[in-house]
């Protein structure tokens, strides 16, 4: 009996328990609602199904979650500019490819790869800007990123001359849709590649360890010989690059740069992914796998909400409540209160037991 209890306790104490539990919960709700949820079919030579849709659409959130996890871990603050940076990267890429002020381009002004890399670098530039403000000037992360949260979208509008720039060039659509002859959506490959590169980077170098160390105590790490500022800067830079990649994928899906709508509300989604992944928003230790599972869970929630007839404008209500619930559960104050209550209960029981024993002795 007690061994079962212990085993359950062991499982619930595991790091990935919370994200996997949430994921299974969401999938179960979907399964109960419609039995066709897990069906995967091949249609016109490409994979088709709700599950594939979730994995495909969740790509941007997963890519953002990779960067966001590092930022949260290193600085105990979140980068709220990721959504706007996505839109800026998309606008930059489309403007470079189509030329300034061109509304719709069928032929490109420069090689497609160059434009895309330009867009990603633009994201990296934004990340570097945030990084300098946070690491070198010691400004609270959220205030520093608030600047680009507003400005990046506005700069994107200026780059696009206040219009939606369309790239009507077939290969540009490959990234967000399908490469002819490949049944799996391209975005999944890109996500896998980003995750693989970052994981190798964290595992093969000591960067991952350094990030956790700086996140736990920046001063102590600095004294023990880690360049805290540089580590912090690198994390923001990676986050910006990730936002750039996500922006290019999002732009490729609709083969245009819609500054007002690309990456809208994605900052919330990426932070939610990190929180759902069991990572503490107070920084320190992190689990990349948890964040990625969290990202797909968010997409599953979004898809479920949309299927239930909730509009994209209304969906944030539910997500905001989930964020607050997760963070409230994590809150040290609440935990201390709960532990205090348990301790009081135990003490009361003990006192009652003693009183009882005392009575018996008499």
């Amino acid at each position: 009996m007690s061994s079962v209890k212990q085993n359950i306790k062991k499982i619930t104490k595991m790091r990935l328990f919370f994200p996997i539990f949430c994921m299974i919960l969401v999938l179960l709700i979907n399964l109960i609602k419609s039995s066709a949820f897990f069906k995967v079919a091949v249609n016109n030579g490409v994979l088709y199904g709700r599950l594939i849709d979730i994995i495909n659409r969740g790509s941007e959130i997963a890519i953002l979650a990779v960067g966001q996890t590092l930022v949260v871990a290193v600085s105990a603050g979140t980068d709220i500019s990721v959504g706007s940076v996505m839109s800026l990267a998309a606008c930059g890429c489309c403007t470079m490819l189509a030329g300034y002020g061109v509304n719709s381009a069928t032929s490109l002004a420069m090689p497609m790869i160059a434009g895309m890399i330009g867009g990603i670098l633009l994201g990296g530039l934004c990340g570097a800007f945030n990084g300098v403000l946070v690491a070198n000037l010691k400004i609270q992360p959220m205030v520093a990123t608030l600047i680009l949260y507003t400005a990046a979208r506005a700069v994107g509008l200026v780059l696009c001359n206040n219009q939606i720039t369309y790239i009507r060039y077939e290969p540009y659509k490959y990234l967000g849709n399908f490469i002819p002859g490949v049944p799996i959506p391209t975005a999944i490959f890109i996500t896998a590649a980003v995750i693989a590169v970052i994981t190798i980077f964290l595992r093969k170098t000591s960067l991952g360890l350094y990030i956790q160390s700086v996140g736990v105590n920046a001063r102590a790490s600095n004294i023990s010989g880690i360049n805290s500022k540089l580590i912090c800067f690198v994390c923001y830079l990676i986050c910006g690059l990730c936002a750039g990649i996500a922006g290019i994928v999002a732009s490729s899906r609709i083969y245009s740069a819609d500054s007002n709508n690309i990456g809208l509300n994605f900052e919330l989604d990426s932070i939610l992914a990190v929180a759902l992944g069991g990572n503490s928003l107070a920084g320190g230790k992190f689990s990349m796998a948890g964040s990625i599972i969290g990202a797909y869970t968010i997409q599953a929630i979004t898809t479920t909400l949309l299927a239930m007839g909730v509009s994209t404008d209304q969906a944030p209500v539910v997500k905001a409540i989930i964020v607050i619930l997760i963070v409230a559960i994590q809150a040290p104050a609440l935990r201390a209160w709960m532990e205090g209550r348990a301790a009081r209960k135990l003490a009361a029981e003990k006192a009652a037991g003693q009183a009882h024993a005392g009575k018996e002795a008499v």
Binding site: I80, I139, L146, I147, A151, V155, Q314, P316, A331
Partner: protein, 347 residues
């Protein structure tokens, strides 16, 4: 020698920040008067229009300053305005409800919203940014839940509300000027300006002369020592967020009187304007320093940028956002440098 020392003592970093703000406002306004003199920028009415269009922002910035004094931040204000405006316009246009109960309802919503946020920040000690960011998305989503269309309030829906929105309060005639046809135009303000100015005065008095106001500064300056002094830090934080959301609701009513409409995309990025105004006005992001008079000048600078961009006519409206963000960045960096210098001097 003695006098020089005291002068140096009074000219610390924060006074310098406010001095820069006022100088910047005067410089910008003067530049506007010179560049756009043909477009009537130099008339007194332009300045009054600045007050009229930014009445809502002034109320919201006062609330933001209170929260920032405690070392927190409230980025839910823009969405809360959208939600309040939607409630007002939806209630009046679609449901035909009278405006006074609706206004009271909106104010109550502000209080409840602030209570929830304040509880989460003060008592559960969650980061203010996470709490208010959830509030931001929650309120924006609720706006869409109420109605996804753009609703305008017309005279038919609520004659009382309409008459408030269009009421002109004339200033003394000697401040007027003659237009090209020789007719004297008397400068005027709207009732929203009076609401905003009353809010500024009340908040100024509260911060300077009441126990609660001084507690706000103490909590923002050093939370630990404030709590050691026996001040109730948790309750103070809770009250700060309640006040912010309540003032934001008052601001929303002013905003709605100006725009006479409600939509999901309304007041997008308004939190940025409020935070920028507060920071430009000399409120430190770390808390403990700042006052509403500085914030008022922050709003003026913010409004002047917008007026300059719209007066030009050729520039995209997003340039105003970029300029505000750049100015915010400049002042944040300036604050950071002052803090660094202060630390060095101590060491």
């Amino acid at each position: 020698m003695e006098r020089k020392k005291s002068l140096k003592g009074s000219m610390n970093g924060n006074t310098v920040l406010i001095f820069i703000t006022v100088a910047l406002f005067i410089a910008m306004y003067a530049a506007g008067c010179i560049i756009y003199s043909d477009k009537g920028f130099s008339h007194f009415q332009t300045f009054l229009n600045l007050l009229i269009t930014n009445a809502g922002l002034i109320c919201v910035t006062c609330g933001m300053t209170i929260v920032m004094l405690t070392g927190g931040i409230d980025i839910s204000v823009g969405s809360l305005i959208a939600m309040d405006c939607m409630i007002l316009s939806f209630g009046m246009s679609m449901k035909g409800l009278p405006c006074i109960p609706l206004i009271i309802f909106v104010l109550v919503i502000g209080l409840v919203f602030g209570l929830v946020q304040g509880f989460l920040v003060g008592y559960l000690q969650i980061q203010p940014f996470i709490v208010t960011m959830s509030g931001l998305f929650f309120a924006r989503g609720m706006t869409a839940v109420i109605c996804t269309k753009q609703i305008s309030i017309t005279k038919k829906d609520s004659p009382l509300f309409y008459s408030w929105a269009n009421a002109k309060i004339n200033l003394p005639a000697f401040l007027g000027y003659k237009n090209s046809r020789g007719k004297t135009l008397v400068p005027f303000i709207r009732p929203t300006v009076i609401i905003a100015l009353i809010v500024v005065v009340l908040v100024f008095i509260m911060l300077k002369y009441t126990k609660f106001g001084r507690t706000l500064y103490a909590v923002g300056g050093n939370e630990v020592s404030a709590s050691m002094m026996g001040l109730n830090v948790k309750r103070t934080k809770l009250m700060a967020y309640v006040m912010s959301s309540f003032l934001c609701s008052i601001g929303a009513i002013c905003y709605c009187l100006n725009t006479m409409s409600g939509s999901v995309q309304q007041a997008l990025g308004f939190e940025m304007n409020a935070i920028a105004s507060s920071v430009i006005g000399g409120t430190l992001l770390t808390g403990g320093v700042g006052n509403v008079i500085g914030s008022l000048f922050g709003v003026f600078i913010n409004g002047t940028i917008r007026t300059l961009v719209t007066t030009n006519g050729k520039l995209l409206s997003s340039w105003a956002n970029i300029a505000t963000a750049a100015l915010l960045c400049f002042f944040i960096v300036l604050q950071s440098i002052f803090a660094y210098v202060k630390d060095r001097r101590k060491a």
